[in-house]
Structure formats: structure tokens, C-alpha cells
Symmetry: C2
Amino acid sequence: MRGTSTKSGSRASLAEVADRAGVSISTVSRIVNGIVGRASAETVARVRQAVDELGYRPDRIGRAMRQRQSNVVALLAPNLANPAMSTIAASTEEALRRVGHVMVLCDTHDRADLQDEYLAAMAAQLVRSVIFLGAVASPALRAASEAGEVFLFVNRRNPHDERAPFVGIDNRGAGAAVAAHFLANGHAPLAVIHSDHSSSAVRDRTYGFIDVLTKAGIAPEMLMRLSAPGDDHLDIGYQAAAAIVAAPQRPRAVLCTSDLIAYGAHRLLTEAGLAVPDDVVLVGIDGNPINPWLAPWLSSVVIPYEDYGPVIVDSLERIWAGEDPGERLLPYAFG
Amino acid sequence: MRGTSTKSGSRASLAEVADRAGVSISTVSRIVNGIVGRASAETVARVRQAVDELGYRPDRIGRAMRQRQSNVVALLAPNLANPAMSTIAASTEEALRRVGHVMVLCDTHDRADLQDEYLAAMAAQLVRSVIFLGAVASPALRAASEAGEVFLFVNRRNPHDERAPFVGIDNRGAGAAVAAHFLANGHAPLAVIHSDHSSSAVRDRTYGFIDVLTKAGIAPEMLMRLSAPGDDHLDIGYQAAAAIVAAPQRPRAVLCTSDLIAYGAHRLLTEAGLAVPDDVVLVGIDGNPINPWLAPWLSSVVIPYEDYGPVIVDSLERIWAGEDPGERLLPYAFG
DNA sequence: CTGAAAGCGCTTACAG
DNA sequence: CTGAAAGCGCTTACAG
């Protein structure tokens, strides 16, 4: 007997449950983990009763210690202030919880050094998997990728291996859809404002847009490509839009590779006395739910970020089963 | 000797470092944990070299197992889609990381059952502390509070114990400041639109506002109190603002207890043909950074959410030291 | 100044 | 059908 009294206020352990049920901890462990075929019905009932009475919950640390693996999944995100990112984070957290996992959220601020620091810290936590929501190129990510470690990439592909498991949308298709829309409406001249091209998503959106226009015979001088330095999309839009106001042939319609960029462009255009969409049509990509409330002048390619969680978890489960989940492209909606 | 070869690709353990340095794991453990006064300078150097060569990082699970406590802190938040919440989450995460902790983020959706589920799950992870960002009343929170467990409450106080450690602003003062501003500008009639009053923050903002006006002799019929059911602040503002349009004596200025409520009210007022701020002045509380970009018509009490992290961590460290951090009120800015 | 040993809670291969 | 025992990586009280 291991001591018949239960320390009140403290969590019950396997040993205490075993004590109360009058069986060994091995038996309790098996039953708690759903392996009931190897014990008599009576034993199972006694153990379950003891579990209920003591309010037993397995200690995840003990389990992780033994299995050399925790039930924690890390999500490395570039910027939680971006509503698209926090929506993905929330939906992923919920989907993971449903399958018994816990999500740790880390903000890399799009910095390679922070990303590497987190990657090491998460390894020390024995996290089950790491999800990169907007990965940046970094030494540790490259090294781990080359060593065959499998991560899941969301929105942006692995900068060191484009074929790594991916969840996102067909970004080229989204850019192309906006181009087709502009052509169909006879808008010209045109422009695109994009953020940094180190992101595969931004690149694909930009070139999906440009390629359609080029193939349609739009002259290069009728298509402005604009950007601005920095990470702040609002500011990028604001800075880049100055070129629209100053252009000798002012663009009639502009693709912004994110809604935040569109907000920034709108502010500058408005301050310059131009009306949106009467003087300049702005189209964003994201479909921020706040748009109907605060930016009714904006149309946007709607990405179903709130649906990412289940798809992300499904991809993770394939990875855990030793499979390659490949790329999962979710449908976007426009127009 | 425990085996002289290091498994490549796998993390080095204390034993491997000890092996390489030719000392015991006790000695390595002490040195790694900064207790260097109990070893010779030469030993310390040898151990540090071995640590560097093997790239040793302590296994946090092993440590948590032994100490019955992890370096994980849980943040339970009501709604990550609210930018104020994600800003606090990001700043807390960064501040915790600086002191060697890891933050786990959980979205309770303001639901008591989910809050309790997370509370139990986090206990099973041996989390060091739980931070409630917008707590709701719930059985497990009540039980834990009554049992003397110490949590940190942010924005909203512990619904079961108002004296529990708290980080936030002087919400009564914020409401009062807006009232004083309206009085100074001669605005009348007035209104307040608030969300659910189960939150101490919302209650305090509302009554801080009302009390000042009442004391100033404003007649009750000159002060509308508006709300609407549900959790969605945008929708609450939209629904509640209908009463403003319909009022026989239309309010000239309105306090909204959150910026999101103000966005909702603005939409309805605009759709009804009223101009903000020319016909109706709206004042929010939050100071969402997006306001200058998308809601230049809104003035707002600015709460320094991005500064919450360090204050939250400071309060946690006091709790860990066995002290009572009491309440920490950060400065808000208005006008 | 240093190390052997116990033990945190769990899972699991093995023995019966 | 059930249990004793090993061991995951670490910290720490204790012995020398």
C-alpha cells in the first residue's frame, strides 16, 4: 500500500488511483489510455470509479517525459497585430484542442533570429510539431529542413524547400482573378502595390496578376509595380500610393497584396483629394471581416482564414502518421 | 563512462555533457544553472566548453518533471479577433520570453465551460501561472479562488474576488474623463453604449461616465443608456445605435465602451444619413492603432496595451516570490 | 570541490 | 488478466 490518504488540494496521481482501486499502476495506466481489452470488466469499472472519485487527470509532463514528446504544438507567427494571423491562430488553437493538443503561440516579428530562437526553445519543450505561419529564411530552419525535419508551412512556403507541407490558397490564381476582373471592367491603367517579395505568397499574388495582364497585351507602361520598404503594411500602402497620385497617367485600379496595404493606400489617396472607388478602385487580398464596417470602399479577395485550423490539424495528423500531406489549397472568393 | 559517442541528430543530454567534460551530471547541472561557486574554475571552463561543443540545451520536460512546475504560463483570452486582446497577447508573450518563459494562448470565447476546461488542461501541463485576460465567472475559477490559488487578472477583475491581483486601467476614471470632456464642450443630450455588464471593466467605464454627469446635474432623460445582447461588439454598437437615430431628443455625443462598439454605431448612424462627428460625436475606449487609418472620425481613450506585457510579468514575478502584487493601473490618454 | 543516489509521473516490454 | 521494474532528463539533499 502506498499510503492510503490522498493529499487534498493536490492532483491525484496514477499511484493514488491504483491504491484506491486496489490494482497496479500499470493496469490503471492502460485503462486510462483506453486499452481496456486487457483487463476484466470488473477491474475496468473499479478503476474508472476511482478515477472519477479522485478527479484524476494524467500529468502531461510525466507522459511527455516517458514518451519523449509532448502534446504541445507551436505556432510561429510573424505578427499577431495582423487580423489574418490572429484569426488563423484562433482557429488552429481550437482545432488542436479538439484533438487533445495544446498550442503555443510565438511572435517572430518576421525576424530570422527570433524564429531560430523559438525553434530551439520549442525543441527543448519537446513540442510535437512546429507550424510556421509566414516563415522567413533562417539558418536553423535551413539546417532542420536539410536534416529532414518536417514542419508545416502556412501562407508562405518553406523558403528553403518549396515542396514542404503547405496550407494556403492558390495565390497566383488570386492575383490572376483580380487582373481578369480589372480587364473585364475595362479599367486602365493599372497598378499593384505589394509588400516584400521574400514571401512566396506575395510573389505569387503579384506575378499571378502581372502575368494575366501581360498575356492580355497590356503595355508595361500601363502597369505600375509599386512597393515600399519595411514590414508595416499600412505604411507600405501609404508610401507606395504616393506614386499613384504623382503618375502622369494615373492608375484607375490597383491590386494591393493585403487589405492592410489597401488601408494605407486609401489614406494617402483620400488625403490627396482622390475618391475611392470613384477615382481609384482598390482591391485587397484577405477579406478582413472589419471591411464592411470600416472600409466599405474596399473589395477584397476573401481568404477563409477561420477554416484553416481543421485543415492544418489534418495535415499535422498526416505528418504524425508518417505521410506527406503535400499542399492543401483552400478556396478563396472574389467578386 | 556512459558511452562515448553522441547520437547525432538528437539533442545532447546532461549525461552526454558530463561524459565529455569528464565530470558528474550533478556538477554539470549546477554549472548550467549558474551555480558556479561550488566548482573549480577549471571544471567550470571544461563544462562550458562541452556544453558549447554539443550545443546542449536543458530539456525543459525533465526539469519540469523534477521541479513539478514548468516554465509555461497560460494566457486565457476571451477573443483573439479583438485587436486589443491580440496586442496584449503579443506584448505578454515577448515579456515572458525575456525572462525565460513560454506563453500558451487559449481562446475561451468568453465561455465559462471552455474557461474551466482550459484551467484543468493547464494544470495538467503544470503551468507556472494562469493569466485571465477577461475572466468570466465559472465553477472551477470560483473553486480555485476559494482554495487560495493565485491567478493574475487583466482588464477584468476576478468575478469571484475583486481584490485578486489585477493589471488594467482606472476604468472609472476613463469613463469620467469622457464625461468631463462632453460637459466641457457643452454637448447634450448624451448617451453611452456598453457591452455586457458582467465585465468589471465595462461596468466601471459606464458608471464612471454616468456618475460624473449625474453629479453635474444632467437630467436622467438627457442621458441614454444603451446596449444590445451578444458578444459581438460591432453588432452591439450597430443594434444599440438604432435608438440614437430614433430618439426624440437625439444625443449629440456618445461614449462607446470599446472602439469596436463605436465602429458598429458609426455604421448604423452613417447608413441612417447622420454624419460623424458633425451630427453625432462618438468616443471609444481602446485607442486601436487602426483608427487614424480607417476611423479618423473617432476619438478614443488610448489604453497602452502594448505596455501591458512588462507589467504583467512584473506582477507574476511578485506572485512567484510569494508577494501580493495588488492592482497595477496603467495610464490612459484622452484628448 | 565533487559525485552517487533518489525520485518527480508516466508508459511499456516483459514475465507470469 | 495483471503487476514489477526500468527508465525518460533533470535537480537536489546529502555524504565525503
